[in-house]
């Protein structure tokens, strides 16, 4: 696998949401609008990139038996950094995502990439993998958020193109499952065709 593939596999072929089905808790929880999906995706991308980078750098100094606690401490630290920075500089977005930011720690996508990829591969591959997976996650969340916002509120990125209410179910929890199911089906169709 060359470096380019390490970066691009996160978008379609191994997309964390549509193919690996990792990190579904924030995926379903925050994607009531496209901007929320984008914000959550970028926060996760930062954590993923930084944790992959640090894990691949220290992988040779950590005894095997304590690697998971070490990874979790590293991930939790970056999540807390994101939380504090967002609270200080992007309070409006923090209010929307508040509860879900600390939950990035338990997003299996982040620990999964640290354990399955970064702790076994070299520096460049791990950085590219973290960035690619993060952007793939962002792409999936933004897409899902956009679909739910269009159908549920008749708006996109906060711009109302239909006055009045949309199909409310898409803003609520069941709509998240329905929309995600259809998006996965469409992605599978494309993945099979190619």
């Amino acid at each position: 696998m060359n470096q380019w593939q390490n970066f691009t596999k996160g978008f379609i072929k191994d997309n964390p949401v549509f193919v690996l089905l990792l990190g579904l808790c924030p995926t379903l929880g925050v994607t009531t609008s496209a901007i929320n999906g984008l914000g959550m995706g970028l926060a996760t991308t930062f954590v993923l990139l930084m944790s992959n980078t640090v894990v691949t750098l220290i992988k040779n100094f950590i005894p095997v038996k304590v690697r998971i606690p070490s990874f979790i401490v590293i991930i939790a630290s970056f999540v807390t950094i994101v939380e504090l920075v967002m609270q200080g500089f992007l309070p409006a977005l923090f209010e929307q995502l508040g509860l879900f930011i600390p939950l990035i720690v338990v997003n299996c996508l982040v620990l999964g990439r640290a354990e399955a990829f970064a702790s076994k591969n070299d520096f460049i591959s791990s950085v590219l993998d973290g960035l690619g997976m993060g952007l793939g996650f962002t792409f999936a969340l933004t897409l899902l958020g956009a679909v739910r916002e269009i159908l549920g509120s008749g708006a996109i990125f906060g711009w109302d193109f239909v006055t009045g209410d949309g199909m409310l179910v898409f803003v609520l929890a069941p709509g998240a499952f329905i929309a995600l199911g259809y998006l996965i089906a469409i992605m599978n169709k494309f993945n099979k065709a190619s």
Partner: protein, 195 residues
Amino acid sequence: MSKQKKPESTFPNMVLALFLVTMIAGLALGGVYVVTKEPIAAAKKAKLENALGKVLPEFDTIKNKKVPAYNGKDSLVFYTAYKSGSKVGTAVKTYTEKGYSGRFEIMVGFTPDNRIENTAVLNHAETPGLGDKIDKSKSDWSKQFNGKNPEQFQLKVKKDGGDVDAITAATISSRAFCDATKRAYETYEKEGGVK
């Protein structure tokens, strides 16, 4: 790379590795905390001032105090506003536990003649598209409280024999909003109103 074998999982190695990882993480977090402390406080203050500006007439100084609620377990915060020395109103930060998704907080501003100047929702988790209409950014529903004196204007939804038009399909959220407003008013009355 072959020379750099991973350290054996012996007790001292594990203790040392975990100690170093947590120490570096702790130091990094301490640093970020110090750097972001002021922006976070500033953001919180800006949010509060924004809410106060919405629910009160023009003012130049604010005094705040905590007041135990007439019912409920948490105390409310009273922000008394002055303009060139005279009282122009009091904002009450109040809460309800009866929201459809639990607790939410609102700010209610009273004018010196005990009328509601305006209200503002501080945070809520009500259903998007239904209950979130309590928020002024979503609908004009809460404007019906403006200018009303709760002495004559019963802070209950019409279904419960009050004077408030409930939001269609969101009676629980409307009731909760009334509950929070009532808590603010009753406590404010008990404190003697603006006298």
